[in-house]
């Protein structure tokens, strides 16, 4: 267990995971709707504030898993309740805890019916999502990974738009079918590891090449659907468009990250040889996703759909950064995951706010509203610029790192991905142009109220913070990324490591 730094004393990670669940349970007994909203708000805010301790207490000089907890759960199968975070998962955990209060506050008036059930679903989602990023036991990981399906399904199926039935079923079937083979791969790894589900123990083992390929393919299917990578992306636009605002935000900001997190946490260190030999194909798939997402977004008239397809493109940049397998690329990819969570989440919140007023998501119905709702348009402009990776915003840093690493490795792929960046500018500016200037405007439209400004303001803060001073975010991941690359390099060098590689 030398890869864990067991946290003596307070169990921060468990508290974070179970706080929302306990909150959801108490929520069952709260009578009035406003009380329920306030309570959900309180629970998510407390969780978010509590998670700051992770950042302040994080030791960025080690690649070991910190704040770890290890409790035996099902001894007959050697399943343990093991939690821990490193530089890769830290930011994702923080992203999750900070996005959730915004989801609650963003649904304050959007959700009118069955508030209690809605908030319970959101809180259960938070528990499962945090657990997925913290789990260091593969059985625990899989349980949380799948457990998320039901609340997310209900979020779309009950509070969704007109085609909610289709979208929710498609989401559920796609994700479940993808992860079935993941389960088989997990069990195979468990047996190959002398009956241990411990994720760190599975890393850097000397698995035969063909075994690695099969495991990698099983991983790939599950994670590529979750990302979603081209050509497994078709569930995403449907789910995004039909989900309520909070559902879209959770989906875009956190759920999609689980796929790329899976690549980082499992594919690279557990099946490094397969990653090296199959990586180039995934790079091309990423390029396809970037271009396809960009072109399709260009043709959308529905704002939510536009953002959904832009997600496909943005996540393409993330997978591109991951599979170049160098430090810049990986760090850019991780940062880009966070950026996409912030920016796309914010854009979905913006669209949701307008939908509450106009009950339409069509660009044409919002033409020229800049004169009527100046505050809203300011926010929309900031987030759109961030989405197209305008310098001084967060996405610029991430995308720049990814493209820089691309040019240092493979100029052809880098060149092929560049039009994606231009397309992003094209479709975002097209959206802005229509919403800002073209058309008569809508004089009856009310501008954002204080609650809505409070929802978006923190995100603006992060857009510029990461855009201007990304070091605090990059610093925490340096050691973990180096270690991860070391694991891949070792496998490439053919070093037969039986035990764990020595940790810095």
């Amino acid at each position: 267990m030398d890869f864990l730094i067991i946290n003596e004393g307070s169990r921060i990670l468990s508290t974070l995971v179970f706080l929302p669940l306990a909150g959801a349970f108490i929520l069952l007994f709260l009578p009035s709707e406003n009380l329920q909203r306030l309570w959900a708000m309180l629970v998510t805010v407390v969780t978010a504030l509590f998670s700051i301790k992770l950042y302040t207490g994080f030791d960025s000089t080690t690649a070991k898993y910190q704040f770890a907890e290890h409790v035996s759960w099902i001894p007959s199968l050697n399943i343990n309740y093991t939690l821990g975070i490193d530089g890769i998962s830290l930011l994702l955990v923080l992203l999750t805890t900070f996005i959730m209060p915004l989801c609650v506050i963003g649904s304050w008036t959007y959700i009118q019916k069955r508030v209690k059930e809605f908030m319970i679903c959101l809180l259960i989602m938070e528990t499962a999502m945090l657990g997925v990023f913290m789990a260091l036991d593969f059985a625990l990981f899989y349980i949380l990974w799948e457990a998320m399906l039901i609340p997310m399904y209900l979020l779309i199926a009950i509070w969704g738009g007109p085609r909610k039935t289709y979208a929710s079923i498609k989401f559920f079937l796609y994700t479940l079918a993808g992860s079935v083979m993941l389960l088989v791969a997990i069990i195979a790894l468990y047996l190959a590891n002398d009956g241990s589900f411990s994720i760190p123990m599975m890393m850097s083992q000397d698995y035969p090449f063909s075994f690695q390929i099969w495991v990698f393919l099983a991983f790939f299917l599950a994670f590529a659907i979750k990302v979603p990578m081209f050509p497994f992306h078709t569930w995403l636009p449907a789910a995004h468009v039909e989900a309520p605002t909070a559902g879209s935000v959770v989906l875009a900001s956190v759920l999609l990250k689980m796929g790329t997190y899976g690549f980082l946490r499992f594919c690279l260190p557990i099946t490094p040889l397969a990653t090296l030999s199959l990586g180039p194909y995934i790079l091309w798939l990423s390029v396809a996703a970037i271009l396809y997402g960009g072109f399709t977004a260009l043709a959308q008239t529905d704002m939510k759909k536009l953002i959904a397809y832009s997600s496909v493109g943005h996540m393409g940049f993330v997978t591109l950064g991951i599979f170049f397998l160098n430090k810049q690329g990986l760090e850019g990819a991780i940062l880009q995951m966070i950026n996409h969570g912030i920016t796309t989440g914010a854009l979905f919140l913006c669209v949701g706010m307008m939908y509450e007023r106009t009950h339409s998501r069509e660009i044409a119905d919002h033409s020229g509203i800049a004169q009527n709702v100046p505050i809203f348009v300011t926010f929309l402009t900031i987030f759109s610029l961030s989405s197209l990776a305008f310098p001084a915003t967060n996405s610029f840093v991430g995308e720049f790192l990814v493209l820089a690493s691309a040019f240092s490795v493979n100029k052809v792929i880098a060149g092929a991905a560049i039009p994606g960046a231009i397309l992003a500018a094209a479709y975002m500016f097209r959206l802005l142009q229509h919403v800002l200037f073209r058309g008569p405007g809508r004089p009856d439209l009310k501008d954002l109220n204080v609650r809505e400004i409070m929802t978006l303001a923190p995100l603006v803060f992060f857009v510029f913070w990461i855009g201007l001073a990304p070091e605090p975010f990059l610093n925490v991941m340096h050691t973990s990324v180096d270690y991860l690359l070391g694991q891949v390099e070792l496998a490439k060098a053919g070093a037969h490591v039986v035990a764990m590689a020595p940790l810095p």
Binding site: L77, I143, E146, A147, L149, I150, L183, L191
Partner: protein, 471 residues
């Protein structure tokens, strides 16, 4: 003391017989049956740790049998509670109906304790004949006598299965000269690899394949599920399967762990065929009970995954899985029984907008269906996960992949039921009223399904020591 749960059931059935002689005694019969099942459940709990043997060693009381008895008693109690109005049964017949239900449970309880072939056979027939009679007791609403067709199919298939089982038993007696299981086990192990012995075991198993609805003994399932009244189906679909798994575990111990390739192969083929047949057929069903029937065939295939590893852990996992299945299935049938207005069958469309009409029932349905589909954190997932792990440990990679594929197929039809309940509008269907006791049962089932899934440790260790006690 050892025989007290069974004895009480026997006395109870006599009381019910007395009740059935009077006029208009449905209410009394219900109360007697309910009280009886509650007391028997408590007694089973109280006698959980006891050990002993009765009737010239033909009847053994150990942890294994007592655990199954507890499951049977709880299952019976749940069915009596949520089927309380017995909407599909003629008023005149209600006392008799309870009488047969109690007798069937008595037979099953004796079955799991029987360790001698003839007493085993008698116990099995006691439970089966009571069930055969429960099927045609349905009200004839439709006029097409669908329940008669079901009953005929049930009894004919049942008798054939019993016949093959007896045939297998005769071989076993011929090979070993004894009918006592504890003597049989070592003698059969010596005969490992002997084709006649393998054939005998396979034939012996077939009787319980029928009860568990394993392919190719599943043909009765859809029609009986559809034709019998809702409460009867709830009972047939859950409680006798416990007995079947108990006996299949006992029979599998006859196979020597190192020389059972042919039996393992047989179980594997049956498992794969059951899963594919059940899941693919369930995809196109519109009647919820029929769908659950096909899903039951698929689940029976899953249970076999635990048996074919031929080791303690595998048997214990099967026990865990079938006890989980009992509760998941009861949760689904609770909803069916409550939604059905006058005891008619429930089509999937009848569940439209259930979450507006009866939120608790919708939640129960969600938990039950998702547990059957094998979504964590419910017991169905944990059971499946352990069965797959055990089977892969035993080296059956292809089997595990096929089983995993089946999970993906199955999700569709479970989800489409949930979809109708949660996304369709009620379209004028009335609200469903649920009485207090049924509410308690449905909350209890939800809690059990979640707790068994999240904390499987105590039940697994109990099951493991139970299996060890019979080996």
């Amino acid at each position: 003391m050892l025989f007290i749960p069974e004895l009480l059931l026997l006395i109870g059935s006599l009381v019910l017989f007395g009740v059935s002689l009077g006029e208009d005694k449905a209410k009394t019969a219900h109360n007697v049956a309910l009280g009886l099942s509650a007391v028997v459940s408590l007694l089973c709990l109280a006698t959980l740790g006891q050990k002993g043997s009765l009737f010239f060693d033909a009847y053994s009381i150990d942890l294994f049998s007592q655990l199954f008895k507890l499951g049977i008693a709880l299952g019976m109690m749940a069915v009596i509670i949520f089927g309380s109005q017995l909407k599909g049964i003629t008023v005149k017949m209600k006392p008799e109906y309870y009488l047969f239900m109690v007798l069937s449970s008595l037979g099953l309880m004796m079955l799991v304790s029987s360790v001698e072939l003839l007493s085993l056979f008698v116990a099995l027939e006691l439970s089966s004949y009571a069930l055969y009679l429960m099927v045609p007791m349905r009200d004839d609403h439709s006029g097409v006598r669908i329940q008669m067709e079901a009953a005929i199919k049930y009894i004919l298939f049942g008798v054939v299965a019993t016949g093959t089982m007896l045939y297998g038993m005769s071989y076993i007696y011929g090979l070993t000269g004894t009918t006592y299981m504890n003597v049989l086990v070592p003698k059969m192990h010596e005969l490992a690899g002997n084709p006649t012995a393998m054939l005998a075991i396979a034939l012996f198993m077939s009787g319980f394949f029928y009860k568990l609805a394993v392919f190719p003994f599943h043909f009765w399932v859809p029609d009986v599920y559809q034709g019998a009244s809702n409460a009867t189906t709830a009972f047939i679909a859950s409680v006798p399967k416990l007995g079947a798994v108990a006996l299949l575990i006992r029979i599998t111990t006859l196979v020597a762990p190192d020389a059972g390739e042919s039996i393992v192969m047989l179980l594997m083929v049956c498992a794969v065929c059951s899963m594919f047949y059940g899941n693919l057929s369930a995809l196109v069903q519109t009647d919820v009970k029929r769908m659950l029937g096909f899903s039951g065939i698929a689940h029976a295939g899953f249970v076999l995954l635990g048996l074919l590893t031929l080791d303690t852990v595998g048997f214990a996992t099967s026990m865990y899985y079938i006890s989980g299945y009992l509760f998941m299935n009861l949760a689904c049938f609770l909803v069916i029984c409550s939604v059905s207005q006058n005891g008619e069958n429930v089509s999937i469309d009848d569940l439209s907008g259930l979450y507006k009409r009866a939120p608790l029932l919708a939640l129960t349905l969600l938990v039950g269906m998702m547990a059957l589909a094998g979504i964590p954190p419910f017991v169905g997932f944990m059971g499946k996960f352990m069965l797959l792990t055990g089977a892969l440990k035993a080296g059956h990679l292809t089997l595990v992949i096929l089983a995993a594929l089946n999970t993906a197929i199955a999700i569709y039809y479970y989800l489409s039921v949930v979809r109708v309940a949660f996304t369709k509008a009620p379209e004028g269907r009335p609200d469903v009223s649920v009485d207090v006791l049924t509410r308690v049962v449905s909350v209890a089932l939800i809690v059990i399904i979640i707790v068994m899934g999240v904390v499987p440790k105590p039940i697994l260790s109990l099951a493991t020591s139970a299996v060890k006690s019979i080996l």
